[in-house]
């Protein structure tokens, strides 16, 4: 359906696309971290993907690069959809685990990138307000990482609720 859009992207940025597939009917392109911003701007302004449906991440523990940030796009005019994935290394050992934010292109990415940061510890460079969102500030670790045990307990935090 939206295979044409994927082809358009591959033709425009042949060097930026690591791989692409259309498994299960979902058109997907894996994009290098460095070219993410250009690709996303091209997709929004030229191809017309004006709705950023979701931003999330996945932890492939034991694989290198470890993380993947996943973007789902939809064009309101044509109804086409596209998935963009960006591999991200872990900070220790490998290169920096920072991805450029897309919250300046789509404001909706703001909270969703905060959630990815909260859950996986992926940093989004240029994000205006990168804080935890679902967890509290004093929480140690990132709960959706595969090496965070499900039974892990956290100390009880006595919070000062007065307004600073």
């Amino acid at each position: 359906m939206s295979k044409a859009d994927l082809d358009k992207l591959v033709a425009q940025y042949p060097a930026a696309i690591v791989s692409s597939h259309s498994n299960f009917g979902d058109d997907t392109a894996v994009v290098t971290k460095e070219s993410l911003k250009d690709v996303m701007r091209f997709l929004r302004d030229t191809v017309g993907f004006d709705l950023l449906v979701s931003v999330t991440a996945a932890d492939y523990f034991g694989r290198e690069p470890r993380f993947e940030v996943v973007y789902h796009l939809r064009s309101m005019a044509t109804g086409n959809r596209l998935r963009i994935k960006v591999p991200v290394h872990e900070e220790e050992g490998g290169p920096s685990a920072e991805v450029a934010t897309v919250s300046d292109l789509w404001p909706t990415a703001n909270w969703q990138e905060r959630e990815a940061y909260d859950m996986f510890g992926i940093k989004f460079s240029g994000h205006p307000d990168l804080r935890r969102i679902l967890m509290y500030e004093e929480f140690v670790g990132h709960p959706l990482r595969k090496d965070y045990p499900k039974e892990q307990r956290q100390p009880l935090i006595r919070r000062d609720y007065s307004l600073s």
């Binding site: 299960f24 979902d26 709705l51 789902h72 404001p107 679902l134 307004l163």
Partner: protein, 449 residues
């Protein structure tokens, strides 16, 4: 006799004990003149020139920070809003969510695909069946069995889903009406919701946490008189629903609180990732059921109501109309529903019937394998989306080929729409926060997961 003479003697009083305008003009009311004067009568103390100077003095307008929530009596849903206010006007706000985070995505990684269904019930807990259906469709997309689902099961999914959509919208509208002072519509709408939940309780065994849908179909067929009772319930709810509409749509207080408050343009709404009734209130006719039909939605005739202004009243009106459209879909589905099985006949995916489990060794092994190992889903990743109560409800599932999801992300419409709260209430009064927050319909369970 005495009453008639009394009414003839003087002009009718406006209310008991109140002087008439004539009496006030005549100054003949002893009670009024006997009232004590204000402690400081400014007009006595100041002459005209001094008064002008007083007007020039600027009152200190330091912004003040106040906390709204996490548990505020005027809002539903646990959310903390840190407001910076200037008098009554909101100058800045920080919306903090996460108070209802129950680790859905983490728990799902440790549960078999079938065991995830009870967790999905607790996402949007006023329309649990829509979440059930959304998750089932995502797993079925991975399995590649979407087209093989028995037709009757697809119709049942549509029917229970649309009932859930009605209950979702009724909760939103009723609660919001109550929060701006209309208590009667709340009670009536909750009453209709209760009728529908009684039906679902009879069908699924639970009033709220149904866990009714399975991968490959639904857990059991409709009860014998379900269709007839549903039709009777819908007919019965038409009248109170119309009464609620009359009570609210022409209600001056309600309209004053809703009209032109929390306005959003279509471009901004798309940029903020809005979907569902909130996006449609801005005039964008995007409905997953229409634009990307799933199940058997392409067989029904229904309209997608859109607003024109994008304010709270449009969001209210769109939801109200969607209840009617859902009833239209239900009526057509009840007419078209074919007989047949309600679960796919595929022992590697669906549970064998209980009778066979107890009597044949093959079914017993199959039952055991499905319980212990779960459904073996081929490796890969899918994003599957349906129209939830609040908008596009998406499930992004990564499978590693085992019986448990490797990663299960919910694209929850509430979470994304709640993000716009700061934008909507910027420059508005404190009182406007309540209807705006009510109309974006933040459901804590879905927002915080």
């Amino acid at each position: 006799m005495s009453t008639t003479t009394q009414s003839k003697t003087g002009p009718r009083k406006l209310a008991f004990g109140m002087p008439t305008p004539d009496e006030i003009a005549a100054g003949g009311i002893p009670g009024l003149s006997a009232r004590p004067k204000l402690p400081v009568d400014l007009m006595d103390k100041l002459n005209a020139s001094e008064l002008e100077e007083v007007e020039d003095i600027e009152l200190p307008t330091e912004p003040m920070q106040i906390n709204m929530g996490p548990s505020h009596p005027a809002t539903h849903g646990t959310v903390r809003i840190v407001l910076t206010i200037d008098g009554e006007t909101v100058r800045d706000s920080d919306v903090q969510v996460g108070y209802l985070h129950r680790c859905f995505e983490k728990e799902a990684e440790y549960a078999t695909y079938t065991q995830v269904f009870p967790y999905t019930d607790r996402l949007n807990y006023v329309s649990p069946l829509l979440n059930n259906v959304g998750f089932a469709l995502a797993v079925e997309k991975l399995l590649g069995i979407g087209a093989a689902i028995p037709e009757r099961a697809q119709y049942i999914r549509v029917i229970v889903g649309e009932i859930s959509r009605i209950t979702d919208h009724l909760t939103c509208l009723g609660a919001s009406a109550m929060e701006v002072g209309g208590f009667t519509p709340f009670l009536w709408m909750i009453k209709i919701r209760e009728w529908l939940w009684e039906l679902l309780e009879e069908l699924t065994g639970a009033r709220l946490t149904h866990s009714y849908v399975r991968v490959g179909g639904v857990s059991q067929d409709l009860t014998e008189d379900f269709i007839a009772r549903l039709r009777a319930t819908l007919n019965r709810s038409l009248e109170p629903l119309a009464e609620c509409e009359k009570l609210l749509v022409k209600n001056r207080i309600f309209r004053d609180r809703m009209d032109g408050v929390g306005t959003m343009s279509a471009e901004d709404a798309i940029a903020m990732g809005w979907t569902g009734p909130c996006l449609r209130s801005t005039g964008v006719p995007y409905d997953v059921r229409k634009d990307h039909p799933y199940l058997v939605y392409d067989r029904f005739e229904f309209d997608v109501p859109v607003g024109s202004v994008g304010d709270n009243y449009d969001r209210f009106a769109v939801r109200l109309e969607e209840i009617r459209q859902s009833m239209r879909i239900l009526e057509q589905a009840m007419q078209q529903i074919p007989p047949g099985p309600v679960l796919l006949d595929e022992p590697r995916i669906c549970m064998p019937p209980k009778n066979a489990v107890y009597n044949t060794i093959e079914s017993m092994i199959g039952h055991f394998k499905l319980i212990v190992d779960g459904i073996k889903v081929p490796p890969g990743e899918v994003y599957s989306y349906t129209e939830g109560g609040n908008g596009e409800l998406g499930f992004y599932i990564v499978s590693d080929g085992s019986g448990r999801p490797y990663r299960c992300h919910v694209r929850s419409p509430s979470f994304i729409i709640t993000q716009s709260m700061s934008k909507l209430i910027l420059g508005a009064g404190i009182a406007d926060i309540i209807p705006t927050f009510g109309m974006i319909n933040m459901i804590g369970g879905e927002c915080d997961r």
